[in-house]
Amino acid sequence: MNRYLPLALLAFGILAFATLMLVIAPGVQIARHSVPPQLEPYTEQQARGRAQYVGLGCVYCHSQQPRSPDQAPDGERGWGRPAVAADYVYDQPHQLGTMRTGPDLLNVGARLPSEAWQLTHLYQPRAIFGWSVMPAYPFLFEIKPAAEPGDTVVVLPEAFAPEAGVVVARQEALDLTAYLLSLDRTYPAPADALRDEGYATMESGS
C-alpha cells in the first residue's frame, strides 16, 4: 500500500458503512414505532430530577433496561417486564446503563413508590440496608434546627439522625425523587414492540 488517498477513502467508506448499519438503519427502524399511549413526557420537576440523576452519574451503578425472562430473572426480582425501544422516546440523554452494582431502576417508581423511603435512602442508604455500597448524598439535604412550614423532613433511624435538629430535603432531592417515582413502565408492551429477542429463539450458546 503506497498511496494515501485510496487508503483514506477506503477506510472512511468502511466506517460510513458501519454507521449505516449501527446508527442510521436502527434509528430509522426505531423512529417508525409508535409511542405507547400510557407513556407520559416528563413534567418540569421530573425533568429537573432527571438532570440530577444524569449529573450525579447514577447510571454508572444502575441500568434502566430489564431483560426478558428468556435470559435473566429480572422480572422475578421486581424490575419489570422486558424493556422495549418505545419505552424511551422521551429520554435524552438515554440512561440505559451497562452496570448493575445496584438494581435496575426502569420501574423503581412502581416498586418503591414512597417519597419518604426514597428521601431517606438518598440521604443515607445504609440507614435502610447496612450492606449497601450506594453513595450517600447528604448535600442534597440540609440540617435545620426545626422544620419550617412547607419543609419535607426526612425520616431517619436514631443512629443516622443528626445530634440536634432535623434533616430537610432540598429542592434537588425532591426533584430527584419525583423523577425516581416517575420511573414506571408497567403498562403492557405495545404489540409491535422492538427489542433484542435473541434469547427467545435460542436454547444455549450463541
Binding site: N2, R3, Y4, L7, A11, F12, I14, L15, A18, T19, M21, L22, V23, A25, P26, G27, Q29, I30, G55, L56, G57, C58, V59, Y60, Q65, R67, S68, Q71, A72, P73, A83, V84, A85, Y88, V89, D91, Q92, P93, H94, Q95, L96, G97, T98, R100, T101, R126, F129, W131, V133, P135, Y137, F139, L194, R195, D196, G198, Y199, S204, G205, S206
Partner: protein, 515 residues
C-alpha cells in the same frame, strides 16, 4: 419489515466477507504490491540489522527528529500529567465502591463524578495525547520527511489541554452530556475537534509530501485512525438529534469505536513500529499485516452493539455486532503472528531494552483482550458478565494493559532520543514495570473472578440482590490495592520524566548527532 432487516443483516455480513475475500485475492495475486524491502522502511537508510537498544543510537541524522521534538515533548509532558491526575481519580472511585461513606460531603466527590473524571482524563488527557505524540514522532521517521507545519500541533496542544481541564471542571460541577464516554459537553467538544484538526493536518500533509514511496504498516493504522476518530467524534456529539434507544446505539457505536478505531490503531501501530525497530529485524510476515489492518477496519467498526445485548434494540443489530465480534479473531491473530513471533525469536532484545519489555507485554495483552472480548460477546457468556465488574476488568485489559503499557514503552524509547540523554534512574523504569504489571494482575483477576460470581448471583432468582453486592466487596478492595500499585508506578514514571527533563546537558551519556 423482517425481510428488510434480514436483508440488511445478510448484506452487511456478505459485504464484510466479500471484502475479506477480495483482500486475500489481492494479496495472493499481488494486486497490492508489497515488496520484501517494504517491511524494512522502518529502519531508515541504513537498513536492517542494527538494534536500537541504546538510548543515543540515532537512526535519524537528517534533522527529522529535531522538528518533531518540540510538539512531541509538549504532548508527552501533558499526557503524563493527566495520567497521574486521572489515575488518582480512578483510585478515588475505586475506594468509594467499598468505603461508601468516605468523602460524601460534596457532589464533585461522589462516585458518579469521580469515575467520569477518571475515564475522561485518562482517555482524552492521557491516552489520546500520548498516542498523538507517538504518531508525531513515528510518522516523520517512517516517511523520512520532517513534520510539516510543526507550529500547529503546539497550538493544538494548548487548546486540547485547556479543553480537557475545562471538561473535567464541567463534569465535576455536574455539567455533562450524560452519555458514557461522551460526558464532556458538546460546547467544549467543538474545541477538542478544533485541536484535533491542528494535530491531524500536519501529519496528513507529512504523509502526502513524504519522501519514501511505501507507507509502512504503522502508517496505515495511524492514517486510518486520523480519519476515523474525527468522524466518530463529530457524529456522536451532534447535539439535539439523538434520543432514546437510537441514542444508545449511537453511544455504543461511538464508544466501542473509540477503542477499536482510535486507541487500538494507536497501540498496534506504535508496536508495529517499535518492535522491529528496537530488535533491528523486520516483522515476521509483512503480507499478513494487511489482513490485520483491513480486518480490523471491517469487523471492529460493527461490534459496538454488543454493549446492548439483551436490551431494547432490534435483534438484528445485536446479532450483527456479535458476529463481527467473533470475526475479530481474524485480524487479531494476524497481528499476533507478526508481533509475537518477531519478539519470540529475539528474546535477547527484551534483556537489552526496557522499552521493548513494556511494548512486547502490551502487544501480548492486545491479543488477550481481543480474544476475551470475542468470547465475552457470545450471548451465553454475556448474560453472565454483562452488568458486572467483569466488564471493567476487560476494559482495563484493553485500555490499560495493552494501550497504556505500549505507550509507557513508547515514551521510554522516545525520550532519550529526543533529548539526547539517558533516563537518570533506570531502576525506576524497572520498578514502574513491575508495579504496573503486578498491580494490573491483581486488578484484573479480582474483577474477573468477582464479576463472574456477581453475575451468577444476579442470575439466580433465589438469591437476594444483596448477595451480589456483598460478595463483591473483597474483590473491590483487591482492585483498590492493584489500582494503587499501578498509580504508584505512574508517579515513578512522572518522576523519571521530570528527571530526564531537568538533567543538565553535562550528564548526557553521549553527545547527540544533531545533523
Amino acid at each position: 419489515m423482517p425481510l428488510t432487516i434480514g436483508l440488511l443483516l445478510g448484506l452487511s455480513f456478505v459485504v464484510s466477507v466479500l471484502a475479506l475475500a477480495f483482500l486475500i485475492w489481492a494479496v495472493a495475486t499481488r494486486q497490492i504490491t508489497m515488496q520484501k524491502g517494504d517491511a524494512a522502511t522502518v529502519f531508515g537508510a541504513e537498513g536492517a540489522g542494527h538494534p536500537d537498544v541504546d538510548g543515543t543510537h540515532l537512526f535519524d541524522t537528517t534533522g527529522i527528529d529535531r522538528i518533531s521534538a518540540r510538539p512531541v515533548l509538549v504532548l508527552i509532558a501533558a499526557a503524563i500529567f493527566w495520567l497521574v491526575v486521572g489515575s488518582l481519580f480512578g483510585v478515588g472511585a475505586s475506594l468509594k465502591l467499598h468505603w461508601p461513606d468516605w468523602l460524601t460531603g460534596s457532589a464533585p466527590l461522589t462516585f458518579g463524578r469521580m469515575r467520569t473524571l477518571h475515564l475522561n482524563l485518562v482517555i482524552y488527557g492521557w491516552l489520546s495525547q500520548v498516542g498523538i505524540a507517538g504518531m508525531m514522532w513515528i510518522l516523520p521517521r517512517i516517511f523520512r520527511t520532517p513534520l510539516k507545519m510543526p507550529g500547529l500541533p503546539l497550538a493544538g496542544a494548548v487548546i486540547w489541554n485547556l479543553t480537557v481541564a475545562a471538561g473535567g471542571w464541567a463534569i465535576a460541577t455536574g455539567w455533562t452530556d450524560g452519555e458514557e464516554w461522551l460526558e464532556i459537553p458538546w460546547q467544549l467538544d467543538i474545541l477538542l475537534a478544533l485541536a484535533g484538526v491542528f494535530f491531524v493536518l500536519p501529519m496528513i500533509q507529512t504523509a502526502r509530501k513524504r519522501e519514501v514511496h511505501h507507507i509502512y504498516v504503522t502508517g496505515w493504522y495511524f492514517l486510518g485512525a486520523m480519519i476515523w476518530f474525527p468522524f466518530l467524534f463529530i457524529v456522536a456529539n451532534l447535539p439535539g438529534i439523538h434520543y432514546g434507544v437510537e441514542e444508545a446505539t449511537t453511544n455504543w457505536w461511538f464508544a466501542h469505536n473509540v477503542l477499536g478505531l482510535w486507541l487500538t490503531p494507536l497501540g498496534v501501530g506504535t508496536a508495529y513500529y517499535f518492535i522491529p525497530k528496537i530488535i533491528g529485524k523486520p516483522v515476521y510476515s509483512y503480507a499478513v499485516s494487511l489482513l490485520g489492518f483491513w480486518g480490523l477496519a471491517l469487523f471492529y467498526s460493527q461490534v459496538g452493539i454488543h454493549h446492548l445485548i439483551g436490551g431494547p434494540v432490534p435483534t438484528w443489530v445485536v446479532t450483527l455486532s456479535v458476529v463481527h465480534s467473533v470475526m475479530m479473531f481474524i485480524p487479531v491473530i494476524a497481528v499476533a503472528v507478526n508481533q509475537h513471533v518477531t519478539v519470540a525469536r529475539n528474546t535477547w532484545a527484551l534483556k537489552q531494552s526496557l522499552p521493548l519489555r513494556f511494548i512486547a507485554f502490551g502487544a501480548l495483552m492486545y491479543t488477550f483482550a481481543s480474544f476475551q472480548g470475542s468470547i465475552e460477546a457470545l450471548r451465553s457468556v454475556n448474560t453472565i458478565t454483562h452488568f458486572t465488574h467483569y466488564t471493567i476488568g476487560h476494559a482495563h485489559l484493553g485500555a490499560y494493559a495493552f494501550v497504556s503499557i505500549v505507550m509507557f514503552g513508547s515514551v521510554y524509547h522516545i525520550m532519550p532520543r529526543l533529548l539526547g540523554r539517558e533516563f537518570a534512574w533506570p531502576g525506576l523504569i524497572r520498578a514502574h514495570f513491575w508495579l504496573v504489571v503486578l498491580g494490573f494482575a491483581i486488578y484484573f483477576f479480582a474483577l474477573s473472578i468477582g464479576g463472574v460470581l456477581q453475575g451468577l448471583a444476579m442470575l439466580d432468582a433465589t438469591r437476594p440482590f444483596a448477595e451480589s453486592v456483598i460478595l463483591m466487596k473483597p474483590y473491590l478492595e483487591a482492585r483498590s490495592i492493584g489500582g494503587s500499585m499501578m498509580t504508584l508506578g505512574h508517579i515513578l514514571f512522572a518522576l523519571n520524566f521530570i528527571g530526564i527533563l531537568l538533567a543538565r546537558p553535562g550528564t548526557a551519556a553521549k553527545p547527540v548527532v544533531a545533523e
